[in-house]
C-alpha cells in the first residue's frame, strides 16, 4: 500500500512530502535520495514480531506484568527521572502527568544542548524567522558551520535553494562559514564558502557581533572575510543567520548565542535581519513546547515538591544520573532503535522503539509503536511554529507510548 504526504520525524525539519510504501511490517521510502528520512523507515521495519513482547530483566512477559513492575519501581524509588522524551506530543503529555504524580525530574535526552537557547530567550528574547519565511523571503543566508547541511540534509533543497519563491526571485547569497576545510563546498559554485583561520565558529561569531556593536572600529583586527560577510548582510533586504547550537562548545554556547542575538537585534535597527536556529532532531522541540505550556517552564522541570520547579543547574538529568542523584530512570524513545539510554547505576524502565535492543540490565522494556508509522501523533518543527501530523500507516498490536505511560500512571 502506498501513502503520500508522510512526515519524517528523524530531523527537526519534519519533511512531510514523502511517499512511503507499506507491505505488512515493511515500510519503504520511495525516494532513496533522502538519506536521513530513509534511515527512519529502514529502522522501522519489523522482521520478527515475536521480539515485540515486553520484558522484565530480559525475560518476556505480558504488558500488564511489565506495567505492574514499572509501577512498583516507581513506588519504591526515592528520586525518579523521566528522560529521553524522544516522542510525540501525546506521549510527552502523559510523561508530564506521570512525572507530576511520581514527583520526578523530567528532562529531554538533548536537554543540555537546549539550555543555552532557552537561557537567551529568558534573558533577552530573540528575533527569529521560520522555514517558509526564510525559503521565500531571504536574499542572504549565512550558515555557521558546514555540518548543518549534514545534520539537516534537505535544508538546501527545501529552504536554501528552492526552485521557486513567492517573490519570483531565487537569486540569493548563500554563505557558509567554517573553521575546517570543505573541498566540496569550496568547489560549489552556488555557495560562498569561507574557510576561516580561526580556532572555532564561536570566534567567527564574536568578530561578526563586534562589527555590529557601537564600539566597533576600523582598526580592530577582524578577519577580512568576516568584514565582507558583514557587508553582505548589511546590504541585504532580508538576511537570515542559521546555526545549530549543538555545533558550539557547551561552555561557550550561551555566550555565542548571545553574540548572535545582539548582532541581529543591532542590525534590526536599520534593516531586516533574523535568526533561524535549527534543532529538534530527537524531538526536543516537541518535548519543550509541551513542558512550557503544561508547567509554565521549559525543560528541565522537577516536581520534587509536587509543583513544577525549573533549575537547569540542579535538575540536569544527565548530571543527576551520572552523579547517582536518582535511583530510577524512565527512558522514552520512540523514533530510533539506536536511541537507548546510557548505563547508569539506577533501575530503569525503557519505553522504546520496537527494534531497540535491551538486555537484562534493563528492568522493564516495553516496545511501543513508532509515531508516524504505527501510531498517529503530532510533532513540533525546529522553528517551534509548525506542528506536523505523524500518520499511522502500518497495522500491528504495538501499544503507543502514551498508552503505556497512562497504564503506569493508573497503576500507581
Amino acid at each position: 500500500m502506498q501513502f503520500k504526504h508522510i512526515t519524517c520525524p528523524q530531523c527537526g525539519l519534519l519533511c512531510d512530502d514523502l511517499d512511503v510504501s507499506v507491505n505488512d511490517q515493511d515500510v519503504t521510502l520511495d525516494d532513496n535520495s533522502h538519506s536521513v528520512c530513509k534511515q527512519f523507515f529502514v529502522d522501522a521495519k519489523l522482521t520478527d514480531k515475536s521480539v515485540l513482547q515486553p520484558r522484565i530483566n530480559g525475560k518476556p512477559c505480558t504488558l500488564n506484568e511489565a506495567v505492574a513492575h514499572a509501577a512498583k519501581l516507581h513506588t519504591t524509588a526515592k528520586q525518579s527521572i523521566i528522560s529521553g522524551l524522544i516522542a510525540d506530543v501525546q506521549a510527552c503529555r502523559s510523561a508530564f502527568a506521570l512525572a507530576e504524580k511520581t514527583h520526578s525530574v523530567i528532562d529531554h535526552a538533548n536537554g543540555q544542548s537546549m539550555r543555552a537557547s532557552t537561557a537567551i530567550m529568558q534573558r533577552y528574547g530573540e528575533v527569529r524567522t521560520t522555514l517558509a519565511e526564510a525559503r521565500n523571503r531571504a536574499d542572504c543566508i549565512v550558515l555557521f558551520g558546514a555540518e548543518i547541511l549534514t545534520k539537516f540534509p534537505r535544508l538546501r533543497e527545501r529552504i536554501l535553494q528552492p526552485a521557486e519563491t513567492i517573490s519570483g526571485n531565487t537569486d540569493r547569497k548563500i554563505i557558509i562559514i567554517d573553521v575546517v576545510e570543505n573541498t566540496d563546498l569550496a568547489a560549489d559554485e552556488e555557495i560562498e564558502f569561507f574557510h576561516l583561520p580561526l580556532p572555532n565558529l564561536e570566534a567567527a561569531i564574536q568578530q561578526l557581533q563586534y562589527l555590529a556593536s557601537p564600539r566597533a572600529s576600523a582598526e580592530t583586527e577582524i578577519e577580512p572575510a568576516i568584514r565582507a560577510i558583514h557587508q553582505q548582510i548589511s546590504e541585504s533586504n532580508y538576511a537570515v543567520l542559521t546555526w545549530t547550537a549543538s555545533l558550539f562548545s557547551k561552555n561557550t554556547a550561551e555566550q555565542t548565542l548571545q553574540n548572535l542575538t545582539f548582532f541581529i537585534k543591532e542590525s534590526m535597527k536599520t534593516q531586516r535581519c533574523v535568526g533561524l536556529p535549527l534543532s529538534g532532531s530527537r524531538g526536543e522541540i516537541t518535548a519543550n513546547q509541551v513542558s512550557t505550556w503544561q508547567t509554565g517552564f521549559p525543560l528541565p522541570v522537577a516536581f520534587s515538591s509536587g509543583a513544577p520547579e525549573h533549575n537547569p543547574v540542579i535538575y540536569n538529568a544527565e548530571t543527576m544520573l551520572t552523579n547517582s542523584e536518582a535511583d530510577l530512570l524512565t527512558w522514552i524513545s520512540t523514533y530510533s532503535s539506536d536511541d537507548t539510554p546510557k548505563q547508569y547505576a539506577t533501575a530503569n524502565i525503557v519505553i522504546g522503539h520496537p527494534n531497540m535492543q535491551c538486555d537484562q540490565t534493563v528492568d522493564v522494556f516495553i516496545p511501543v509503536g513508532i509515531p508516524g508509522v504505527d501510531q498517529r501523533g503530532l510533532a513540533c518543527r525546529t522553528d517551534a511554529v509548525a506542528t506536523l501530523p505523524l500518520h499511522s500507516i502500518r497495522k500491528n498490536d504495538l501499544p503507543s507510548a502514551d498508552h503505556v505511560l497512562n497504564l503506569i500512571y493508573q497503576a500507581l
Binding site: D16, V89, G125, N136, I166, W293, R376, V385
Partner: protein, 552 residues
Amino acid sequence: MAIKLVGAQIYDPMHQIDGKQMDIGIDQEQICNADALAPDCESIDISDCIVMAGAIDLHTHIGGGKVNIARTMMIEDHQAHIHHGDHQCRAGSGHAVPSTFTAGYRYAEMGYTAGFEPAVLPINARQAHMEMADTPMIDKGGYVLLGNDDFLLQMMRDGASQSAINDYVAWVLNASQCIGIKVVNAGGVHAFKFNQRRLDVDEVSTASGVTPRQIVNVLSRAVYELGVTHPLHVHASNLGVPGNFETTIATMGAAEGVPIHLTHIQFHSYGTEGDMKFSSAACEIAEAINNNKNVTADVGQIMFGQTVTTSGDTMMQYYGHEHGSPKKWTVMDIECEMGCGVVPFRYRDKSFVNALQWSIGLEIFLQVNDPWRVFLTTDHPNGAPFTSYPHLIKLLMNRSFRNDHLSNLHPEAQRMSNLSSMDREYSLYEIAIMTRAAPAKILGLADQGHLAAGATANITVYRKQDDIEKMFAHPAYVFKNGTMIVKDGKIIETVKGVTHVVKPEYDKSIEKSLRTYFDKFQTISLDNFKISNDEMEECIGSQVVEHPCTKP
C-alpha cells in the same frame, strides 16, 4: 443528574430578566424548567445569591506559539507563582501568562465557562488547539489570522473577486478549526518583513501594493457574506501611537456598514493634545461606536503591575519594545502568514502614559451607551491578566471606588482625564450583558450566555456581598454543562470543555490554486495543513462543536 437552584436573583439579559427571584433547574447538561423537576431532586437554597450564565471571555491569549514564548520569557513571574496540584488539579505556574491547566482553573474559579483565543496563526493552529485542549474547565475557540498572508495579498493584487476571497476565508476557517477571522495591523505585519516600519490605513504598502483599508474591507465583507456570526475581529493599525484614534475611526469606516469588531480599542484611542502630546480620544471613539451600529468593541483595559504583551503585530511590538520592562523582547516572522512579538510590560500608576491609558479604557466603557456593543476584556495578558476582571467590574460599578483610584494616579494624567466627572455606574444587569449575553450573541453560541430552558447549563452563582470585587472573584457555585465544578470559590471537579468552530460552505475549486501555492512555496503540504475533526479529538484532545453560518 437533576438539581434545583432555589430562590436566587436572576440576571438573564437575553430574556430581559433583571434581578427577578426565580428557581433554575438543571437536568443533565441542560437548563430546564425548575417546576418540571421531580420534587425529590437535589435542591440548593441560594436565596442569598445572584445567578448569571457562565461568563465568556471573547478575547484572551491562552494558546499558541506566542503564548509559549511569553511563558518562557516571563521566567521571573513563573518562579514567583508556583501552583501545586491536588487530587483534582494539575500543577502549574505563572500569573501574567499562566500555564494551561492553571489558566483553566483560574477562569473557572471566577465563574467563566468559555474563553476565545483571538490570534490563531493558520500554521500554528494545531499548537494553539493543543494548548487550549490542555486548558481545562472552559470551552474554547479561536479566531484565525488573515490579512498579512501572502496568499490573500496576492489575490487582492491580482484583482480577485470578492467571492473568490470568500472561498479562501471559508477554506482557512475549515482547515484551522476556528470560529472567527481576525486581522492584525492589516498589511502592516507583512510590510514589516520588507523593513517598512509604519503603515497607515490608507497608505499603499510598497510590499503588497494594497492598503489596510482595502484588506479590512474585503475581509469584513467575506465574513459577513459567508454568514459567520462573529464579525471580522480587527486589531487596527498604529497600535499605541499617539493620534491613532483617527486611524481607528477610519478602520471602522473600512467595513462600509457590515459588522466589524474593533478589539482592545483602548490601545487605539489616543490623541495628541497637551504638553506630552498624548491624550485621551475616548470621547471620539465612544461617539463613533455609538453612531455606527455595525461596530462593536472590546476595551483591553490596562491594570497596573507586571504583565507581558503578546501580539501578532510585529511592526508595533518592535515600535514599542523600548518601553518594555524588564528589557527583553522577541519578534518573529512566521511562514508568509503573519508574525508575533512578545514584550514584557510593567504598567505604573505614576507613569503619565500608563495612568492615562487606564483612564482611557474606563472612559470608553462609561461613554459607550450600549452594553451589548462593548465587551469587558483586558486583552489578557496584554493590558493585564484576566484574573483582574473582578477588580475591573468594581471600577465600572462603583464610582467612588473608581475616583479614589484615579486620585492616586500621575497628577498630569488626572488633569487630562475627564473620568472623575463621569457618574455612570454599571448595573449587575449590564455586567451580565457585557460578560455573558453579548459575547454569546456575537459569537453565535445560541445555547450559552443565557438561562432559559434548553441552554447549556453553564451557570455561575454569586453570594451577594457588599464588595463586588470579592463577589465576582469567588462565586459560591459554578456549573459547567450541568456539573458543579466550583464550590465556594474552589474547584471540586475538573472537566475538559469543547472547541467551538464554524465551517462555512465554499467552492472547493479554491483548493486548486491553494495546492499550487503550497506545493511551490510552503514547507508543509496542503493535506497536512488541514485539521480534521477526528484529529482534533484523537490527537489534539478536544471535541469540536460546530455552529451554523447563516448567509445574509
